[in-house]
């Protein structure tokens, strides 16, 4: 409501000012609209928290002294009651009162914000309207404003990173209050089954992440074993041997693999590849888990083939023609040229393609969730079920959880580990590529 009104009031202004040259209109509109918008944004983002806090403050000590979890439940009931939904406890007088208070507060705050948005907007509108005179360099002011908006937009990328890093680090620190860092990084046993409430039995789990790291590495290794030769040789064939027409035909087909959603690969791994592997294992008398690392790794390998092939394709094509000419001019065959001249020159680029592919495989979630399983086995045997960092993050956080428990917090610690590893790999890969590009520029 408040947003609508603020927008409406400013909209009216825009129309009023339209008789003036466009820039003056924009000037007034922007100077008045933006602060109003800002207030509305504050309401949208923090409004519900504010209302909750006021309501909590008004509630008796009895409620405030409850545990975090119960208090959240109580607030939830108030919310539900306020919008007329079902609640989890008998309707009491105090709850009813609290809800009424909640609704009143919400209403009041909404009005305050709406009025202040409209007020600020119209004040500024009047102010800027009065300021308008032929001498005012409104175009420059408007342009400066637009540039500031552009700067803000481009800083959002930084904000995202800050958001990621800070949320991961904050939650990880909270996790480390429950579990020591050395236990997390060096522990060999992973079973995060803490109880929901402290008074239940078996409330402590073990949070040794080594089995997750080894599982991730095992699957990544298998994936690279598949994708590196296939991807690299495809790239070599397409850049050096295939005719232009064949290239036009094959390249999009291979890149189609990159466009397929990972959930589809997961389905393929779980329902086609895994049974085939298990059955063929039975034929030769091997016992293979139905959710084996092999199936997940194989399919993940297929998924990253296009990544390796297109990146390698790029670096191989950017090896200067003069080097090829030199080699051909000496009477070298294509193969000799590729093996002795092109591949060594393109090596940094190709290595960076491998690193990016590895980082992609480490961070991949859906395939392993659907095909690799949940069992945190510490094994190097690709025929057994293993679990990965990403699978556990997902498993820990799906479903309703108490947010403060070590179990859910451990997901953020795993996320931080995952983020650090992939960031490191990407960083090195980008460095290598840049160095490689400089070499031939």
């Amino acid at each position: 409501m408040g947003r609508k009104k603020a927008v409406l009031s400013v909209n009216g202004k825009i129309r009023d000012l339209h008789s003036l040259p466009g820039h003056y209109g924009w000037f007034t509109a922007l100077t008045s609209f933006l602060p109003g918008l800002f207030i509305v944004l504050v309401w949208i983002i923090f409004g519900s928290n504010l209302v909750d806090n006021f309501t909590l403050a008004a509630l008796g000590d009895e409620i405030r002294s409850l545990s975090n979890f119960d208090r959240a439940l109580y607030m939830n009931d108030i919310h539900n009651l306020a919008i007329g939904d079902a609640i989890s406890r008998p309707l009491t007088n105090s709850l009813n009162n609290a809800t009424n208070f909640y609704l009143r507060t919400q209403n009041n705050l909404l009005w305050i914000f709406t009025l202040s948005a409209i007020g600020v907007s119209s004040l500024l509108a009047i102010f800027s309207f009065r300021k308008i005179s032929p001498e005012l360099r409104s175009r420059n002011l408007v342009e400066r404003l637009i540039i500031i908006m552009l700067v803000i937009s481009s800083s959002i990328a930084i904000l995202i990173t800050i958001g990621i890093v800070s949320s991961l680090i904050v939650e990880t620190l909270r996790f480390l209050e429950h579990v020591s860092l050395s236990e997390f990084l060096l522990g060999l046993k992973w079973s995060p089954q803490t109880a929901l409430r402290a008074d239940q039995v078996g409330s402590s789990g073990s949070f040794g992440a080594i089995p997750l790291f080894t599982g991730t590495l095992l699957i990544t290794f298998i994936a690279l074993l598949v994708a590196v030769p296939v991807g690299l040789f495809s790239a070599i064939y397409m850049t050096e041997f295939a005719s232009p027409n064949a290239r036009i035909f094959f390249k999009p087909l291979l890149e189609l693999l990159a466009g397929i959603p990972t959930v589809v690969y997961g389905f393929f791994a779980a329902l086609v590849v895994a049974p085939v592997i298990r059955n063929s294992g039975e034929v030769i008398g091997l016992e293979i888990a139905s959710e084996s690392a092999l199936a997940a790794g194989l399919v993940m390998g297929i998924m990253i083939i296009p990544l390796i092939s297109s990146l390698s394709d790029d670096v191989i094509s950017s090896v200067p023609q003069s080097l090829r000419d030199a080699s051909y001019g000496l009477g070298a065959t294509k193969t000799e040229t590729i093996v002795n001249v092109i591949l060594p020159s393109a090596l940094p680029g190709i290595v960076s393609a491998f690193l990016l592919a590895a980082s992609r495989a480490i961070g991949e979630t859906m395939i392993v969730v659907m095909a690799a399983g949940m069992a945190a086995n510490l094994t190097a045997n690709p025929l057994e079920a293993v679990t990965t960092v990403t699978v556990q993050i997902l498993a820990l956080l799906t479903g309703d959880q108490e947010f403060d428990s070590a179990k859910t917090l451990s997901a953020f610690a795993l996320g931080l580990a995952l983020f650090t590893i992939t960031l490191f790999l990407n960083f090195i890969a980008l460095k290598l590529v840049r160095k490689y590009q400089e070499q031939y520029d």
Binding site: D325, A326, L330, G331, T333, N340
Partner: protein, 261 residues
């Protein structure tokens, strides 16, 4: 060519007859006839885009690597049609080496750069033999004294002139019959150019050299024969001294005297 010299009595190494080359739709060379005598330096001159480099690349079939390029006509090397089916490109290029406009050493050590050709063609019986080939090639290209202490350093770390001489050493290591040079000095400073010109004059004793150049002085200094290309045709071909002092075609005269180009 009406004047018979001793040189022309010798059977020419390379004979081009009625060579036409197309890049896609573009007709780059039209009806080229040219005889190149052994152990001489033949200069190909002419304005940019006249087809002289194209013709040079025809002689060792470097144009094969360009998909849109088509060629008709006949080029023979020692009497053998180099475009016939039973000629192997790889062998041909071992016989007809090439030095390019821009020095293009492989990003490998100096030693490996020179040893690359002998290795792929199996010219050296053992490591000692290979060392010998590398030594003599570098020696002959006048680079040995400058690089003998850093044979394991990258070829790309050398100066421009040294790089180009490395490329020449790399080419002669395969012991070709003919060396094609595509404006080998155009990216070099005058001092480096002088060194390379000296080198070319020496190499003539053992190799047949065809050189494309933009520099009239260079053509005049180095070559015994000169061919003047214009718009995909050879307008004039003859002894260098003849062409530079007494050109028969007006266009040649204009070009040599620098009236256009």
């Amino acid at each position: 060519m009406d004047k018979t010299t001793v040189q022309e009595l010798i059977q020419p190494t390379i004979k081009a007859r009625n060579v036409d080359v197309y890049y896609g739709e573009t007709h780059a060379l039209m009806g080229i006839d040219l005889d190149i005598a052994p152990k001489t330096v033949t200069a190909l001159i002419g304005p940019s885009g006249c087809g002289k480099s194209t013709f040079l690349r025809c002689i060792n079939r470097m144009n094969d690597t360009i998909p849109s390029c088509r060629m008709t006509g006949k080029i023979t090397l020692d009497g053998e049609d180099i475009y016939s089916k039973n000629i192997d490109v790889v062998q041909l290029r071992a016989k007809v080496g090439m030095v390019f406009q821009k020095a293009n050493p492989f990003p490998k050590s100096i030693y490996d750069n020179v040893a690359y050709g002998p290795r792929i063609h199996g010219l050296a019986a053992d490591d000692k033999d290979l060392d010998e080939i590398v030594f003599s090639s570098l020696q002959r290209s006048g680079l040995w004294n400058e690089v003998k202490d850093r044979l394991d350093k990258s070829g790309t770390a050398l100066s421009g002139g040294q790089q180009q001489r490395l490329c020449i050493a790399r080419t002669i290591a395969v012991n070709p019959e003919v060396i094609l040079m595509d404006e080998p000095c155009s990216a070099l400073d005058p001092i480096a150019t002088a060194i390379i010109e000296e080198l070319i004059a020496d190499l003539k004793e053992r190799f047949t050299i065809v050189i494309v150049t933009h520099s009239m002085q260079q053509a005049a200094r180095l070559s015994q024969k000169t061919a003047f290309f214009h718009l995909g045709k050879i307008l004039e071909f003859g002894d260098t001294s003849e062409i530079f002092t007494n050109p028969r075609v007006e266009k040649t005269k204009d070009y040599i005297t620098g009236r256009y180009g």
